[in-house]
């Protein structure tokens, strides 16, 4: 039988400790360990070491492997004075973590030394409840949810693809959604454009979408842009600063404008397209991966573009492709997982098959290649005689 003091003394002999001064030096070095705050939530909310992750001592054993699967990763555990973190370090050692230290003196000593402190923004009780299923996922968590709330996503089109994409992004709490679409809601849209409804017929799509999305989630602000994207307005629309563009356009002129603008502004584009029973999705990530012009340098000539009368789409298909776009967008914002950059996904709804082809960055690409030949926006002619609508 041992008293708490005896137990603590024994544990401290079995673990490695560093001072807060050493901890601060390591934090600023190029090989900083990951700081793990094992205090309670009210302590964390009053301030923590910059870059630290929060796992309360009581949840440490159950959560650590999900959050930090690499057991050789250097970890620096801290609490308020260095006791809870000492016990925590011992447990992690028993769980197979090989490079764990406890910060002696803890956060109290850190603050006494005048070192930098991050005051975390906290979710309201309503947000905790609304996003609880996100908060339970280690890859999202509170920090990820804050990222989503801070994120700004521009949707090109509030149609077939934009409907499911915007609904899921709004539900996920993406804080600002810009929507570019010049059209009004038409009866023929409602077979697949689920962000709209019958009582919105004749209403501008951007306003109909705004009502639906802000009604779904009051954390979301929708910035409506009731115009068609052109070389004249693209710079103005992009000037608002967007983290990700979701391309749900249904025509080549818009797709090439979006691509060129995104390359020049360094904004990733989550691309989706649909036709009848088949859809495609990929991510164009400027700098890191190919762009749309690496895939298709230019649109087909008008005479070879497929006849407009042959169109049509199964209503659920944009639901599937648009949801894939929402998924890729969330991953880009959260900086988690492997994006579709460099891979074009081909979905066939009739056979229910998913194929994938490789898309490589083209060194001869006219926009993102080594010697670009296109340096200004190009307004391609529309291929149909009938007016086009987005999405």
């Amino acid at each position: 039988m041992a008293t708490y003091r005896e137990l603590l003394a024994r544990v401290k002999e079995e673990i490695d400790e560093i001072s807060t001064i050493e901890a601060q030096a390591r934090l600023e070095s190029s090989e900083s360990p990951l700081f793990v705050d094992v205090r309670e939530s009210d302590e964390w909310e009053e301030g923590h070491i910059p870059g630290a992750v929060y796992i309360p001592r009581g949840r440490l054993e159950s959560r650590i492997e999900g959050l930090i699967p690499d057991k050789s990763r250097p970890l620096a555990l801290y609490c308020s004075v260095g006791s809870r973190s000492a016990f925590a370090a011992k447990v992690l050692g028993e769980m197979g973590y090989t490079d764990v230290v406890s910060v002696a003196g803890g956060f109290a000593d850190w603050k006494r030394n005048g070192f930098e402190v991050t005051i975390p923004r906290v979710l309201s009780p309503e947000q905790r409840s609304r996003y609880s299923r996100h908060l339970l996922i280690p890859e999202v968590g509170e920090e990820g949810q804050q990222r989503l709330l801070d994120a700004r996503v521009l949707l090109i089109g509030a149609g077939g693809l934009g409907s499911p994409a915007s609904l899921y992004l709004a539900a996920a709490g993406v804080g600002t959604l810009g929507i570019v679409d010049a059209d009004v809601v038409d009866e023929s849209n409602l077979q697949r454009q689920i962000v709209h409804s019958t009582d919105r017929l004749g209403e501008p799509k951007v306003l109909s979408a705004k009502r639906t999305l802000e009604g779904l989630n009051p954390d979301v602000r929708v910035v409506p842009c009731q115009e068609r994207l052109t070389s004249e307005n693209v710079e103005r629309i992009l000037a608002d600063g967007w983290d990700v563009i979701v391309d749900g356009a249904d025509n080549f002129p818009t797709r090439y404008l979006v691509n060129d603008a995104a390359v020049w502004h360094g904004i990733p584009v989550v691309h989706g397209s649909i036709f009848r029973f088949e859809g495609q999705a990929t991510v164009f990530s400027p700098g890191a991966g190919p762009c749309y012009r690496c895939l298709f340098p230019q649109p087909p000539p008008a005479e070879l573009a497929p006849s407009c009368a042959e169109g049509g789409v199964l209503g659920v298909l944009p639901g599937i492709i648009g949801s894939i776009q929402a998924n890729e967008t969330l991953k880009l914002i959260l900086d988690r997982g492997d994006s579709l950059a460099g891979r074009l996904l081909l979905f066939d709804a009739l056979s229910t098959t998913l194929d994938e082809v490789t898309v490589r960055k083209n060194p001869d690409c006219p926009v993102c290649g080594e010697s670009p030949t296109i340096t200004d926006y190009v307004d391609y002619v529309e291929f149909c005689n009938t007016p086009l609508e987005l999405g």
Binding site: D250, N251, S273, P300, P306, V313
Partner: protein, 96 residues
């Protein structure tokens, strides 16, 4: 013999088929075999004997332009995907 996936935008040119078998030891031969049987495909795939810039051809998931282009060898059982640019959106617009 390669299995060639025909995209929905080109099915009118091949009588509605989604998948066609075609013969040839290279991508060029396989396309020639297809065009011989479905002449309307020619204008959609080729420009001056070269693969049109708005069409991609994938052999087992790799863009043939990153391999040997139309000279890329085709093995028995390879899967080829023809992929013209597809803007894709609403039924009214089709692929415009």
């Amino acid at each position: 013999m390669a299995a060639v996936r025909i995209p929905p935008t080109l099915r009118a040119e091949v009588g509605g088929s989604r998948l066609l078998e075609a013969r040839g030891d290279t991508v060029a031969d396989v396309i020639d075999d297809l065009v011989e049987r479905y002449p309307a495909l020619g204008a959609q795939l080729l420009q001056d004997g070269e693969l049109a810039s708005f069409v991609n051809v994938y052999l087992d998931g790799e863009d043939i332009r990153t391999r040997d282009g139309l000279d890329t060898p085709v093995s028995e059982g390879d899967q080829m995907i023809l992929l013209p640019a597809m803007a894709g959106g609403s039924p009214k617009g089709g692929t415009q």
